[in-house]
Symmetry: C2
C-alpha cells in the first residue's frame, strides 16, 4: 500500500487552523491587522455595553511598543458588564469558545475576534495579551496575562492576580502588542469609528494615537439607547435536520407536542396541534421514536407549514428612527435627515429589520451618485460595495422622480439587523440578494426618498412664495399710500389689511415660516426633532 508513503494525513487544532489561515478573519497584513484588532475589540466592547443598556464609553490608546521592530501596542477599555474571572482564560485562549453562539443579534458573529487578536499578537511579537476585567458589582478586578497553546487550543496563563475594586469599576480592558503599521491603518480606523458613531450616537469614543496630533474624541450625542435584543428560540421555519436531531438527543422521551412548544419560537399548543395533524402524527408520540424517514418528513413539513407565527423581532435591536437621525446628523452634518425603521420581516425563519436614513445638503459634498453607508447589525460594511444588494437597489432608483438632479448632496444609510445576516461572500462585507430583504431595502429607501421629495417640493414652493411676497410687498406700500390718499383711511390700518390680504392670497399661515426656511411648523406633531419626520 504505497499511498501512506506519498500522502500524509494530519489533524490540526482549531487554533492552528486559524493561525495559518488568518486572512479568513481579516488579519491579512500588518495594516489590516491593526484595523481588524481595533475593530474586533471595539465590537466586543459595544456588545458588552449596549446589549445591557449601559451607555458605552470606549477608550482606544495606541502606542509604539518597539519602533525599530514596528511593534504597536493597542489598548481598548470599556465600561461593559465584564467577564467572570474563571471564564477569562477560555474567552481569550480557546478558539470556538464564546458567549455569542446564541440566537440573538450580536455585532460579533463568530466569537472568533478576541482569539484572532491573541493569535496574531503571539505570532508576531510572542507577547501575551493583558486582560483586566470586573463584572458588574464585583469586589475585585481580575487580571490575566494569556497566550494560547496553539497545538492544544488551550489558554496558557502566564500570570494572574486579583485586585481590590476600590471604585466599583466594571468593564474590560485589553492590551496587546503586535506588529503593524499604524500610519497606514490610522485613516481606516478613524473612518471605522466615524461610521460606527453614525449608528451608535449614544456611545463615546476616545482614540489616542502615538503621535501628538493623533487624538480623536467622538462625543456621545444622545443618551437614548435602542432596546437590547432578547435571546430567542429558533423559528420553526429556520431549522435543519441536524438541529432537530440535536434537540431530540437532549430529551428523546418528550412528546411531540411539548417538543414543539418548548423548543421553538412562537409555537403554542394550538399551532403545535395543527402542525402535528398536518404531518399526520400523534401529539403524544415521543419525539425520539421518529424513524429516519419520518424525521426528514417532519423537518421538511416544518419548513413548508404556513401556520407558524411570524418570527419575533425581540431578538433584534434596531437603532430606531430618532437615534439614527441623531447619529447621521452628528457625523454627516447635513441640512436635513429623514429616517425610517421598517416593521420586522423574515426570510427562511430568520427575522430581520431594515432601517434607512437619507441625508441631504449641508456638509455633504455633491456627487454624481448617492453616497452609500451600509451597516449590518450596527457594524459598518466598508469593502465590496459593488457586490452589495444595497448598491444595486440605490442604482435602480430613478432619482429624478424624487426631484433629485445629480450632482447632488445625497447620502443613503441602510442598516439591516437580523439574527442571521445573509452575506454574499465569506468576506462578510456584502449583503446577498435575498428577495425578502431586497424588497424591504427598496421600500425603506423609497420611504425616505418620498420625504425628501416632499421636502424639496416645499422648499421650492417656499422659494416661490418668498419671491411673490417680496414683489407684492414692493407694490403694496405704493398701493397703501395711494389708497390712503384717495380714501383718507388710516394708513396703518390699510397696511395691516393689505398684509392680511397678501397672506391670504399666498396662503401663508404664519409669516415667520417663510423666513425660518424650515418645515417644522407644517408637521402635524411638533416634535423637537424638527427635520425628522415620524414614519407612517
Amino acid at each position: 500500500m504505497g499511498t501512506n508513503d506519498i500522502v500524509k494525513f494530519e489533524a490540526l487544532s482549531p487554533a492552528e487552523f486559524f493561525r495559518r489561515n488568518r486572512e479568513i478573519a481579516g488579519f491579512s497584513n500588518p495594516t489590516r491587522a491593526i484595523y481588524q484588532t481595533i475593530r474586533e475589540l471595539v465590537e466586543n466592547s459595544l456588545d458588552a455595553t449596549e446589549t445591557f443598556k449601559i451607555l458605552p464609553s470606549i477608550k482606544i490608546y495606541i502606542d509604539y511598543a518597539n519602533q525599530s521592530r514596528s511593534w504597536i501596542s493597542i489598548y481598548v477599555e470599556d465600561n461593559g458588564i465584564g467577564i467572570p474571572g474563571d471564564e477569562i482564560p477560555n474567552v481569550f485562549g480557546r478558539v470556538f469558545y464564546s458567549s455569542k453562539y446564541r440566537i440573538k443579534q450580536h455585532r460579533g458573529i463568530f466569537g472568533l475576534g478576541a482569539k484572532m487578536v491573541v493569535l496574531y499578537a503571539q505570532s508576531t511579537t510572542n507577547t501575551p495579551i493583558l486582560v483586566r476585567s470586573a463584572p458588574l458589582r464585583s469586589n475585585v478586578i481580575y487580571e490575566y496575562q494569556l497566550m494560547i497553546d496553539i497545538t492544544k487550543n488551550e489558554p496558557v496563563i502566564m500570570s494572574q492576580r486579583t485586585m481590590e475594586n476600590k471604585y466599583g469599576w466594571h468593564g474590560t480592558a485589553i492590551r496587546v502588542v503586535l506588529e503593524g503599521d499604524w500610519s497606514k491603518a490610522k485613516r481606516r480606523v478613524e473612518e471605522y469609528l466615524r461610521r460606527t458613531a453614525m449608528v451608535a450616537p449614544y456611545a463615546e469614543f476616545v482614540l489616542r494615537g502615538p503621535d501628538e496630533d493623533d487624538a480623536i474624541k467622538i462625543p456621545r450625542v444622545t443618551t437614548k439607547m435602542p432596546d437590547p435584543p432578547k435571546e430567542g428560540l429558533p423559528h420553526p421555519k429556520s431549522v435543519d435536520v441536524e438541529l432537530i436531531k440535536q434537540l431530540i438527543q437532549k430529551n428523546p422521551d418528550l412528546p411531540l407536542l411539548e417538543f414543539l412548544t418548548e423548543n421553538f419560537d412562537g409555537v403554542g399548543e394550538t399551532i403545535a396541534k395543527t402542525f402535528i395533524d398536518f404531518v399526520g402524527l400523534q401529539p403524544d408520540m415521543p419525539v425520539g421514536k421518529l424513524i429516519n424517514d419520518e424525521l426528514i418528513n417532519f423537518v421538511t413539513k416544518m419548513r413548508e407549514f404556513n401556520g407558524w407565527r411570524r418570527p419575533r423581532a425581540d431578538w433584534l435591536s434596531p437603532i430606531g428612527e430618532d437615534i439614527l437621525a441623531e447619529g447621521v446628523k452628528f457625523v454627516l452634518r447635513p441640512e436635513v435627515v429623514f429616517t425610517v425603521t421598517r416593521k420586522p420581516s423574515s426570510y427562511m425563519g430568520n427575522p430581520f429589520i431594515v432601517e434607512a436614513a437619507l441625508a441631504w445638503g449641508g456638509a455633504i459634498e455633491p456627487s454624481d451618485n448617492p453616497i452609500i453607508y451600509r451597516f449590518a447589525n450596527k457594524v459598518p460594511l466598508i469593502y465590496d460595495e459593488g457586490n452589495d444588494v444595497i448598491r444595486k437597489i440605490v442604482d435602480e432608483i430613478d432619482w429624478t422622480q424624487y426631484k433629485v438632479k445629480f450632482p447632488a448632496p445625497l447620502a443613503i444609510v441602510v442598516h439591516i439587523c437580523s439574527t442571521k445576516i445573509p452575506y454574499a461572500s465569506a468576506g462578510k462585507e456584502a449583503i446577498a440578494e435575498v428577495p425578502e430583504i431586497e424588497s424591504e431595502v427598496r421600500n425603506a429607501i423609497r420611504e425616505v426618498a418620498r420625504k425628501l421629495r416632499l421636502y424639496i417640493t416645499r422648499k421650492e414652493k417656499e422659494q416661490e412664495l418668498l419671491m411673490k411676497y417680496a414683489i407684492f410687498s414692493m407694490y403694496a406700500e405704493e398701493v397703501v399710500n395711494a389708497l390712503s390718499y384717495v380714501t383718507k383711511a388710516d394708513i396703518e390700518e390699510l397696511r395691516s389689511s393689505m398684509t392680511t390680504l397678501i397672506k391670504e392670497k399666498l396662503k401663508i399661515r404664519r409669516f415667520e415660516d417663510l423666513l425660518n426656511n424650515s418645515l417644522s411648523s407644517e408637521d402635524e406633531n411638533n416634535s423637537e426633532a424638527q427635520d425628522h419626520e415620524p414614519s407612517s
Copy 2:
C-alpha cells in the same frame, strides 16, 4: 456576580462551528451548495490525480434523489491515488483533518471541502455520504457510509465493507444526497468545468445531468502534464514566532546551525553560519536555550536577512506554456494564442509563478474590454473580479500601443500559482495588491501583448503585400505580353522572370506564405505549435 446569569459561555466543536457558518465555505444556499459540492469534489479529484502524474478522468453524475423534496444526488468518481482504508472515516468525518496542511501547491486550501459536503448533506437530507476508494495497487476496495457526530467532531461509521478489487481500479468515488436546485446550478457548474479545462487540458470530464440533454463531455486534449509540485520546508523569510516556537519544541537540544539547515528551505551550512554571525549568536548553542527576547530578535532577523536563497519553485506546479496554450485553444477556439510562464519570484518568503495567455480572434466575441479569466493554483476565480489586481492591471494597459482597437476579440488568461495565494478577502475570489505579484502579472501580460502586436503587424504587412501582389500581377500579364511581342522572347520564361522580380521586390520568400495567411514560416524555429511562440 450577576454576569454568569446574563451571559452564557459555551464551546463549539469545529464541526458545529462550520455547520452553523457554512456560508464561510460557500454553502450559502441550495444553488450555491450544489456548485460548491461539485467544485470541492472535483478539486479533490484533480489533486489526487495530477499531483501524482495520473491523467485525470473525472465522472460527475447528477440525479434527482427525491424530486418532490428537491433532493439531488451527486456522484463524483476519479482515477486518483485513493485513500487508505483506515484514513477514510477521518478524511470525511473530522473537520481539521487533512493531507493538505503542507507547504506545497494544492487546489484545495483548507482541507475543509469534503467535510463541508458531508455536513451539508447531513443537515439537509440526513443521509450519509457513500465513499468508495482503492489506493494504488490495492487488492481491495473500501466502502464506507459515513456521517459526522457534529458535537464531537468525529466520524460516525454507518456501514463498512471491503470488496475484492478485481480490475485493479484505483481512485475515489463519492455519492452524496443533498437539497439543492440543479436547474439553477447547472450553468454555473458547466462554466466552472469549462474554465477548469482551460488550465487542465490533460484532464477529461464527463458531466451527466438528470435530464436527457444534460450531458457534457470535455475530452482530454493533451497527454502532456505539468510536473507535480514537491513538498517543501518553510522559507526562512516566511516564518513567524509561533512557527519557530513549534519547531524548537520538537527538539530543543538541536544546535542553532542544525536547526537552521534541517528546518528551512535552501539553508546550507555556509548560509546558516553567516546568518548566526549576523544575529550575534553561537552555531552550537542549543536552540531551546534562546530566551524570549533572543527568540524574537532571531525571528525578526530571519525576516530581515538578505543572504537567504530565493524560495524554491519546486513546490509549485505551473501549467506550462504549451499545455496552457492547448487548453485555451480548445476552450476559447481563438485565431491565435500566445502564452508565457514567467520565472519564479517570491513575496514574504512565499514562492510564486505567474502565467498568462492572450487569445485573439476566432470564436472570441469582440467586446469593449478584454475578457479576463483568472486562476489561482489552477482553480478558476469566478466572483469579485472588480476587486482583483488582475482586472486593475489589464485596465491600466494602453492597448492601442499593442495595436488593439476596441471592440476587439481579446481574452486574457492569468494564472498565479503559489504555496500561499494572497487573497484580497476571505471570500478567496480576488487576488490582493501585493507589489511583487502585481509587477509579475504586468510583465506577463505585456509579454503576450507584445507577441500580439507582432502578430497584428505581420498580418497588416501580409495584407499589404497581398494587395500589392494582386495589383502587380494584374499588370504583369500585360507587360509580359507586350515584352514578348517586342522582344520575341519566350512568354513562359518572361512570365517566370516577372514573378521572380515581383517576389524580390515584395521580399516574399515563399509564395505560399501569403496565401496561408499564417506566420509559421517566419518563425525561427518551425515547431508544430504554429501559433504558439516560445518565450524568450
